[in-house]
């Protein structure tokens, strides 16, 4: 009885999830009248703006990941080592981006860093890029922090740190040679999530007027019929590839690397 119910729930979920996907895929293949073809995909890939915006977003994602790792790994490490009592507070702070809408964050940024402020980041393209990266890092913070903190839980941070210190290591060595390698899997899964978020993000990029992939998808969607469907499928594939890589790395880790 409960088993049947579970299967029904599963089937409903699967239909809810897959039907639009199948519909989109099917639609994206019907650009040429009376036959299935990849014409819509060809046109998307031939559009220089596709590669430009995708390239821009990938670069932003990489920058966000690097910045996020440099920010989150030392912070999570330090909190675990020296201030375990404030961990709940830090955890709460890292959750805030989930409850504060991106649009609020970006308007805040624009107010704080506009051309007449002390730090006029929005005055130049580069400055705006940096601002956008900060915004992305904020959005990714809940996932990144949680992933890294979970990774740190698997090792005895304090003992390993003290062992390294007694062997003469300073903080940079400890972070780079011990902490980071031991939380690499966690960092990577955080990184793939960040990547997926940045690739699809619309609000911040649009409001800061940067040529990112999200606004391009929206633009295309407003003006064409078949190409947006193809683009959606491509974006979906990228996201899933990220998830797949995440799984793969986790698996790979379990087999070859150290557990105590």
């Amino acid at each position: 009885m409960t088993r049947a119910f579970a299967w029904i729930a599963f089937a409903l979920g699967a239909i809810y999830f897959f039907l639009p996907l199948i519909g989109t895929v099917e639609f994206s293949l019907r650009m040429l009248r009376g036959q299935y073809s990849f014409e819509a995909y060809r046109r998307v890939l031939a559009d220089p703006r596709f590669l430009d915006t995708l390239g821009y977003s990938v670069a932003m994602a990489v920058a966000t990941i690097v910045f996020g790792v440099l920010l989150v790994v030392p912070t999570a490490f330090w909190v675990r080592l020296k201030m375990p009592r404030i961990r709940p507070l830090i955890e709460f702070i890292t959750l805030l981006p989930l409850v504060i809408p991106a649009i609020v964050i970006v308007f805040g940024y624009i107010r704080l860093f506009n051309t007449s402020s002390i730090l006029p980041l929005t005055g130049s393209a580069m400055g705006t890029n940096v601002l956008l990266m900060f915004g992305y890092a904020t959005l990714a913070l809940p996932y990144m922090y949680r992933a890294v903190d979970t990774g740190l839980r698997a090792i005895d941070v304090r003992t390993l740190t003290e062992a390294a210190q007694s062997l003469g290591a300073g903080w940079v060595t400890i972070l780079a040679r011990l902490i980071l390698p031991n939380v690499l899997v966690a960092v990577l899964s955080g990184a793939f999530l960040t990547f997926a978020i940045v690739i699809g993000e619309f609000t911040m990029a649009a409001l800061l007027n940067r040529p990112a992939f999200g606004p391009y998808m929206q633009l295309l969607g407003a003006n064409r019929a078949y190409e947006p469907a193809a683009l959606a499928v491509i974006a979906f594939a990228i996201t899933w590839a990220c998830m797949g890589l995440m799984q793969l790395v986790t698996r790979f880790q379990k087999h070859t690397r150290a557990q105590r």
């Binding site: 003290e162 062992a163 210190q165 062997l167 003469g168 060595t173 150290a258």
Partner: protein
């Protein structure tokens, strides 16, 4: 001049005084153990020497240099932890070489030293393994090699054997001691296992409630305990309550019997302590003090027979060797114990 000198060390965590007026001077190459019950502050002393905790007051000098201003990574100290603190992402060889690499030692020299250390701990072929592929005993050996590789001035070990099973523990403690002698490295070893402390150390510090109750060589600690705590914590002890009848002549009344200890005693009541091995069942040469008692328990352990004998309202434990031709005494049997007055310790307090 002592090599490692700890003077008037104090440390509190909040209202809890964990280390109190701790003094210790260790000679170069000496092996000293800190022995005491859980929570008495052993680890805290060690961590202050290593630099992981700052004392509230007092001094720590290594080779004449005050090290309190130095961070842990500046102190030239090797440390072995209770939990396996090997770096899980590095191989055994990389673990052992870690301290050398941090120092900027050249490749060739480092490899040679790592090989030397692995041979020293008897694991020359395991350099490419990862820590999780080693047994607990092997991991602790590697931890020892890692601590020793950069040639530290002082070696600190915090209960390095307590996570291992009994057999490995005994063989590894002998090995650690042999390596320590071999290298002549000044060592401070923390344990709550008295057998470990007595068998390994040049000197033992018995700690209680943050205080060093007695410092001395194992023979002295065991045979001439300075305080009641030391007497009771180290080894098995029988305590008999006696009434001093003649303080000057050292006569006491014990379980209804008048005996002479032959040395002056404070007036009033006295606690007399006896190690099980100084008591014999029946008359024995040189043990002319007799105590009448009754067998309360008998445990036949094979080569040894362990007995508890009721003497008045106290109990005395003693061991006798098994004799193939004589069965062990029966419970309830009246027996006579003999001891030498010399072996009766008078406990203060």
């Amino acid at each position: 001049m002592p090599f490692l000198e700890i003077a008037r060390l104090e440390k509190s965590f909040g209202a809890l005084r964990v280390v109190r007026d701790f003094n210790l001077a260790i000679e170069k190459g000496e092996f000293v153990s800190l022995l005491g019950p859980s929570g008495c502050g052993k680890t805290t002393v060690l961590r202050m020497v290593a630099g992981f905790e700052a004392p509230d007051s007092g001094t720590i000098r290594i080779d004449g240099q005050d090290v309190l201003g130095l961070r842990p990574n500046q102190r030239s100290i090797g440390m072995v932890f209770q939990a396996y603190a090997l770096f899980p992402n590095l191989t055994v060889a990389q673990n052992v070489g870690f301290g050398l690499k941090v120092k900027g030692t050249g490749r060739a020299e480092m490899d040679a030293r790592v090989d030397e250390m692995l041979r020293l701990i008897g694991l020359p072929d395991l350099g490419q393994r990862y820590p999780f592929q080693l047994s607990g005993g092997q991991q602790q050996r590697v931890a020892l090699a890692r601590a020793l590789a950069p040639k530290p001035q002082v070696l600190l070990l915090d209960e390095p054997l307590s996570a291992l099973d009994a057999k490995v523990r005994v063989s590894l403690r002998n090995e650690i001691r042999a390596i320590q002698r071999d290298l002549g490295i000044t060592t401070l070893f923390v344990t709550h296992d008295q057998e470990e402390a007595l068998s390994m150390s040049d000197r033992v510090v018995v700690m209680n409630g943050g205080l060093a109750e007695q410092v001395g060589d194992p023979h002295e600690i065991y045979n001439r305990p300075a305080t009641r705590f030391v007497a009771q914590f180290v080894g098995t002890l029988n305590v008999l309550e006696a009434e001093v009848t003649d303080p000057a002549a050292g006569r006491v009344r014990l379980a209804g019997q008048e005996i002479a200890l032959g040395r002056p005693l404070p007036p009033g009541r006295a606690s007399l302590a006896l190690r099980p091995e100084v008591v014999s069942l029946g008359p024995a040469p040189g043990r002319d003090l007799r105590l009448a008692g009754r067998i309360a328990e008998v445990h036949f352990l094979g080569s040894v027979i362990r007995m508890r004998v009721a003497v008045g309202s106290d109990h005395v434990s003693l061991d006798a060797f098994n004799r193939p031709d004589a069965p062990p005494p029966a419970v309830g049997e009246a027996v006579e114990l003999s001891v030498s007055p010399r072996d009766l310790l008078v406990l203060e307090g």
